[in-house]
Symmetry: C2
Subunit: 311 residues, 2 copies
């Protein structure tokens, strides 16, 4: 019986690390810097060193360690191979092979949004469920899909790239992925701010949003104060997102839809808006599917990494 496991959620700025017991309790949690220079060559060696140091420090018996679960900000194949990861500077990298050689421990890797979904299923907003759709609304729109308790990885490690479903034909700007009209362009924090700027430019209507930068947070703050222009922006956002989620549930039929990321800090009012535009477009069996807010915040990744290696 394995007693412990490690989690390493690798991001463009830091690697979040965790030591867990088999029940999902965090025994230790710390971060190291991600050295992305030199094609990110130091990231895995640094991660391995941090984990080996922790094993020594806590005098852990390696026989009792299930392994290391790794989250990567990009596509990851089922064999732990990353073809490229813009944020880390990596080209082709055999993540689990390298980390395993450096630590002597079993390693499993998955996309960071997918492990976050696994974490939310294990101990967060989707606890008790096995079919989960997680959307993280942050700078971009990420997603993780859990089918029967397991991550939907996809053939190219790109399962759950739900920020890039096409939702609008009429847009000049390009998405970060290169396409035009992706959900991410409307439902991310960046997208909401753009919708706000457009709304402010299109009318002279007085609005609290004219006083500041009109960020996504400003939009929901103003909405809570009854600001009419902010309401219009929230409705446009919710139309894109609600319709988009309806499309996802017609395909996936999850038990629960979990909304996370910075935008989810707006709270229940966000879910109310999404539900209004979700229901008319949802397939009949999915009209009453439960919506929930994510609970683990930035720790969802390390929880999911732990679950990945414990499974």
């Amino acid at each position: 019986m394995k007693k412990y496991c490690f989690a390493a959620d690798i991001g463009g700025t830091t690697v979040k690390l965790g030591l867990f017991d088999a029940e999902g309790n965090v025994l230790d949690k710390w971060e190291i810097k991600s050295h992305t220079e030199n094609e990110g060559a130091a990231i895995l060696p640094d991660t391995a060193e941090a984990i080996l140091k922790k094993i020594e420090e806590r005098k852990l018996n390696t026989e009792e360690i299930a392994g290391i679960g790794v989250g990567v900000p990009g596509p990851v194949s089922i064999d732990g191979i990353v073809p490229h990861t813009a944020n880390l500077g990596w080209g082709y990298k055999e993540v689990t092979k390298e980390l395993s050689e450096r630590t002597g421990l079993l390693c499993k890797a998955a996309n960071d949004a997918n492990v976050a979904a696994l974490g939310e299923m294990w101990v967060g907003g989707a606890k008790g469920h096995k079919d989960v759709l997680l959307l993280t609304l942050g700078t971009g729109v990420g997603g993780g899909i859990i089918v029967d308790g397991k991550i939907l990885t996809g053939a190219h490690g790109a399962g759950g790239e739900i920020g890039h479903i096409h939702v609008e034909d009429h847009i000049e700007e390009h998405c970060g992925c290169g396409n035009q009209g992706c959900l991410e362009q409307f439902a991310s924090a960046t997208g909401i701010a753009r919708l706000a700027r457009e709304a402010l430019a299109e009318s002279d209507e007085p609005s609290l949003l004219r006083e500041g930068e009109a960020t996504a947070k400003d939009v929901f703050d103003a909405l809570k104060k009854g600001d009419a222009l902010a309401k219009g922006v929230a409705e446009r956002f919710a139309k894109y997102l609600g319709t988009g989620i309806a499309v996802m549930t017609a395909i996936l039929d999850p038990e629960v839809i979990v909304i996370g990321g910075g935008v989810s800090k707006a709270g229940e009012i966000l879910l109310d808006y999404i539900r209004e535009y979700y229901k008319p477009y949802a397939y009949k069996s999915a009209k009453d599917t439960e919506f929930a807010l994510a609970k683990l915040g930035n720790d969802a990744g390390i929880y999911g990494c732990a679950k990945l290696v414990l499974d």
Copy 2:
């Protein structure tokens, strides 16, 4: 080691039955009528009787029979429970429990489009793959999703209801599901015929389609003869379907997309049109995902039923 299994693909007109060996060879194939009157009460008893008669006729040893795989035209839960099935007259029905009690054999059930996808994966157009998206373009648009070799059933047995993703805001007519703007309204044989009627009404342009009923088949036949109006119809159809499939692959990232159903008889030209509108909207990792035509026709269901129970 089990040597045989039975397949029962239940439809609104007939129940297609099959006896298979464990390697996927059809040893026998026959049909019985679906008695949908009296809330379809006779369908499962008739199916059980037909299978028991076959066992007797062929003097099969029931110890050597893996069981019966069942396909149902409606949502089916992972426990073989059907909440309702319009085409069969059924209300709530415990399909696998009833059929198992009547035959003494293990039964597994799944949605008919999902078992068709499993069949195409086993011995058809998706042979050799484990992550498959099947679209059947017939009277409606059905779908089946295979993830890592297994059917994506969904929480309400409604996984893969891809005909009901929302693709158009501007439409007066309602889909059979009750919503407006579903993919099925544009990409089914019925939908293509409607697009053709609209195109014929909107102009006086001469067209081969003015000579007949302008069915989906007529559209693709005229297209092959260079008919300009038919080309316009095919482009509108392909825009909806290509964009819709791009949405599906951003979510699912399958290895292969298989197109079946009556409309797929148009052949390679159909795939050419779909690909043209798929690629610009597909997520980068999925732009070159393989398209294939379904190979098993109406037999996909019984093959999938057999695979379901052999797994």
